[in-house]
């Protein structure tokens, strides 16, 4: 290790500025956590109007739904962290679900074989996305848009549009069963959450993935294997997306061709909330919170009997509130010049 002999260097510079910097912190938290305050208020209001909102049953409902979209959201968040975007998550989820259902119910394969096949196809498509981005240097937005079209063809190709009714009962257990009174999807979510959290925050892979999102060239010149890691994000995303698709199919006991479509926007919103809630740090926890916010927002509105228009407004508003909170907390740090 080369440690320079610093005593000889008489550096004067810059000693003055850092001392003052500490004071920035204060007001920042308030803005940054504004979204928590808003949601706190929202929960209180819904509870007053509809006491059913604050019941254990509803709590479970929210969490099961959260767990189903959480996998897609984690995957999307990881891709976003490395500076990519995956538009094909919904169709990957759909493809995995339909393939699993098709193999299991129409072709009579064993449940586990079918699930493994479903998960594998997600991983494979993810790999394809990743290769397009890393080897062919395509913009991920475009590459995954292409994949999305291809998958729509694939989905209709294998099923002809007919929905698959799920025959094996123990497959449904995955989505509907409980263990120790707690729904199975929540266990799966908990495990995936912990793994994803550890992966992103505690391993060099996760660290480097976020660094790539910050400045890819600097990472490359520092010996970070950007191709491998970027590829990895897409594979993980494909892989995790299948969980959402298969669990949803298990939960509703039927696989319909369009089943995954909803995951694109929901996963994207949750993942974006995740990357902004803690200012780009700790995205996995952020994403989980984002998913909870999204699900509970819509759940509360349904309890209130709100029409579909309010659902749209609510999702739009949620996105705006989140990015504004992020923006103002960043700005109070940077005080972007030129903006008088």
């Amino acid at each position: 290790m080369n440690k320079s002999n610093s005593n000889a260097v008489s550096t004067p510079a810059l000693a003055n500025e850092p001392a003052e910097k500490a004071s920035r912190k204060g007001n920042l938290h308030l803005i940054q956590y504004g979204i928590f305050i808003i949601f706190g208020l929202y929960y209180v209001i819904v509870t007053i109007l509809r006491p059913g909102f604050l019941s254990l049953g509803n709590f479970y409902d929210i969490f099961i739904e959260t767990s189903i979209i959480s996998f897609v959201s984690f995957g999307e968040a990881i891709v976003i962290a490395a500076g990519g975007l995956d538009l094909s998550v919904g169709n990957m989820a759909g493809a995995a679900a339909m393939l699993t259902c098709h193999l299991m119910s129409n072709m009579g394969y064993d449940i586990w074989v079918s699930i493994v096949a479903g998960v594998a196809i997600g991983g494979l498509i993810g790999l394809g996305n990743g290769l397009m981005v890393t080897r062919l240097h395509m913009n991920s937005l475009i590459a995954t848009l292409g994949t999305m079209f291809v998958l729509v063809g694939f989905l209709y190709g294998i099923t002809g549009g007919v929905s698959v009714h799920i025959v094996p009962e123990n497959f449904e257990y995955l989505g509907n069963g409980t263990f120790l009174n707690i729904p199975i999807p929540m266990y799966i979510m908990a495990v995936v959450f912990v793994l994803a959290y550890l992966f992103m925050e505690k391993t060099s892979y996760g660290r480097n993935i976020t660094m790539i999102g910050g400045n890819i060239e600097a990472c490359r010149l520092s010996g970070v294997n950007i191709k491998k890691l970027t590829l990895m994000t897409f594979v993980i995303c494909g892989f995790l997306s299948t969980f959402s698709g298969i669990l949803l199919a298990a939960r509703q006991a039927v696989g319909n061709v369009d089943l995954g479509e909803r995951f694109l926007l929901e996963g994207f919103i949750a993942a974006m909330l995740g990357t902004v809630i803690f200012n780009g740090k700790n995205i996995i926890t952020g994403t989980l919170l984002g998913a909870i916010f999204l699900v509970s927002l819509l759940n509360g509105l349904t309890l209130l009997g709100a029409g579909p228009q309010w659902m749209y407004f609510a999702q739009g508003a949620l996105l705006l509130v989140a990015i504004m909170a992020n923006y103002y907390s960043k700005r109070s740090m940077l005080k972007l010049p030129g903006k008088k």
């Binding site: 848009l145 063809g153 694939f154 228009q309 739009g316 996105l319 705006l320």
Partner: protein, 320 residues
Amino acid sequence: MQKQPITPKGIINNYGATFAFIIAIIFFSFASQGFFSGQNLQNILVQSTSLGICAFGLTFVLITGEIDLSYGGVIGLVGAVLAGMLKDGHSIGLVTVVCLAIGLGTGLLNAILIVVLNLPSFLASVAVMFICMGAERIYNQGVTTWIRDPSVLSIVQGSVGPVPLPVLYLFALFFICWFLQTQTKAGQYVRALGENISAVKEVGIRASLLKSGVFVFAGLIFAFAGYIEILRIGGAVMYAGSHLLLSVLAACFLGTATFKAGKANFPGTLIGAFFLYTLLSGFTALGMKFYLVPFAQGLILIISVAISSARRGKIEQVQF
């Protein structure tokens, strides 16, 4: 202006999708009798009109280095208001003005969020899309509204001589956009803005004003696209915007592989829009299975963009 070495590889890189397009047309013409007829080619032009026009708006925004997905809501909202107001007996003149005003309004909203408040355009425009979808739903109460007045319908369904009106609109708008972007000062700045915004600010150009202008202009174009789409269908079907959401993106991205490798541009977008409908029409003419259409559209998007990205030599990241 352009001065780049002309090599076979360079041509393929820059014009990959253009070649694919030409090859597709030749292939379909030989493989099926019905395809290469005046009627069918005219169909393709007419069908791509609203998609193409909407994609011009997006192209403008993409050139500034931003993205604007709000058209996914604007088109539907404009449609709902258009059909609804006509049903209530308002004159088409007034209705047209209101429709364009909606485009102006959503464009302004985008501009405020993205330029003034400096929010990331991807997210902000998705939020605006949601808001427009909500507004659309409030306006039409979830019901499709039909337009019965033939004189109104003829604005889009009519033709001058042998040329259908939508084709005229498409090419007129194409020419306007192309001229504005490549031949005028403001257009230069828009391109420059997308490349290096501080350079533009430095020479005293009001970059934020310009960018806002682009969003507002795009909003107007989106509204116009919605107007055309709904009059072509003959009624305001629900969520017409989200029907076009992905195809418009695909057309713009195909466009980046058509003329200027990697950069959004108007001739490219125009061809991209034609391409998508050429595939639909060609595959139908060949009697292919329906699910092969999205399959082929996706593959061609991937392949042509892959060719034009190959020389990039590094991983491209998405900016929000």
